[in-house]
Amino acid sequence: MQYVIPAIFVLVILIAAVKRVNVFSSFSRGAGEAVKFVFGLLPLLACTFIMCELFERSHLSDALSRLLAPAFSLLGVPSELSKLILIKPFSGSGSLAYLTQIIGEYGADSYISRCACVLYGSSETVFYISVVYFGKCKNKRRLLPIVIILFATFISTIVACLLCRIM
């Protein structure tokens, strides 16, 4: 897998050079677009991250996960993972820290930490992605897709826990 990325670079730049494209000026044009793109995102990201930070620091996430734990265990999801499931859509770094903690606590090869790893690897930080994708759109009311994603991720969580038990 580690060969893919350098190979793509070599291939693209060689083809461009053969076709007599000015690689330097093309690359810097793309880099210039990146500057505009990323710094246009900064205010939106700031809002999202402030929200995520508050959600965690106010211990609202703890309270919610305690509330939801019985429902989770009914569906076959270990209740120890409810906080990870709740945090993952909000914060990548926060959930990574929590994942590390789970692995440290239960051991890398235990059922719970394997579940946690699959969970972490198979879901995304939805709110952050929605900001990146819809930042420049006029219509910012995108509740339906977010709800669908959270639902689909939740179903895949249940599947993941089942798979960990079998495999």
Binding site: M1, V4, I5, V12, A16, K19, N22, F27, G30, A31, E33, A34, V35, F37, F39, L41, L42, L45, A46, T48, F49, M51, E53, L54, F55, R57, S58, H59, L99, I103, G107, A108, D109, C117, V118, G121, S122, I129, S130, V132, Y133, F134, K136, C137, K140, R141, R142, L144, P145, I146, I148, I149, A152, T153, S156, T157, V159, A160, L163, M167
Partner: protein, 194 residues
């Protein structure tokens, strides 16, 4: 997003007002700091990938790659906009290759092209596919497990792949179904009322 943002902000602020008022400002400042850090990280990623993709575009490599997937993609996303299709196909190919950093700029460009057509269906579908993205090899998790002394750090790769595939297919299918069902249901309701 507005509803979610306001609700969470107000609820957390009220809770913190009672439990730990001194921690409120540091928490918000940390949020801002996180945003700035993420922005810089993103900048490093996108400067590389958007630079390379500009080279690929000028050498007309992108256009050629897009040809293979353009027909099924055009149908699935209900769009005929060539710029949008090109970026859509590149986004999906990069996702499948597991280069998330390269996929995002294409995705955003596709969203912008679709915005001009007012094609909200395709925008939302693309968002769903990306936010439940198929990741072939979860490298971070494997590294983490290996460093924690796991005997078989790779054994979660297959369940992860199945789980992401389930969420992507389920999410996309649900959205397409709901969108196709809604107009029909609305039409039926209109018929009944008249």
């Amino acid at each position: 997003m507005n509803v979610i943002f306001t609700t969470i902000l107000v609820l957390s602020a009220i809770v913190m007002l009672i439990t730990s008022p001194a921690d409120f400002l540091p928490a918000t400042l940390d949020g801002g700091m996180n945003a700035a850090k993420t922005c810089l990280t993103l900048f490093c990623i996108y400067v590389v990938w958007m630079g390379l993709s500009a080279v690929a575009e000028d050498a007309r490599i992108t256009q050629k790659c897009a040809k293979f997937l353009s027909k099924p993609c055009g149908k699935l996303f209900k769009t005929k906009n060539p710029t949008a299709i090109e970026n859509l196909t590149m986004n999906i190919s990069c996702n499948l290759l597991g280069i998330g950093g390269a996929a995002t700029p294409y995705g955003v460009k596709a969203i912008e092209a679709l915005e001009k057509d007012g094609n909200e269906f395709a925008q939302n579908l693309l968002f769903i596919i990306n936010a439940t993205s198929i990741q072939l090899i979860p490298t971070t998790v494997i590294a983490l497990r290996a460093s924690a002394g796991s005997i078989a750090p790779h054994d979660i790769a297959v369940p992860s792949l199945i789980a992401t595939a389930v969420s992507t297919v389920l999410g996309a299918a649900l959205y397409v179904l709901i969108k196709n069902f809604k107009p029909k249901a609305a039409a039926r309701r209109r018929k009944c009322s008249t």
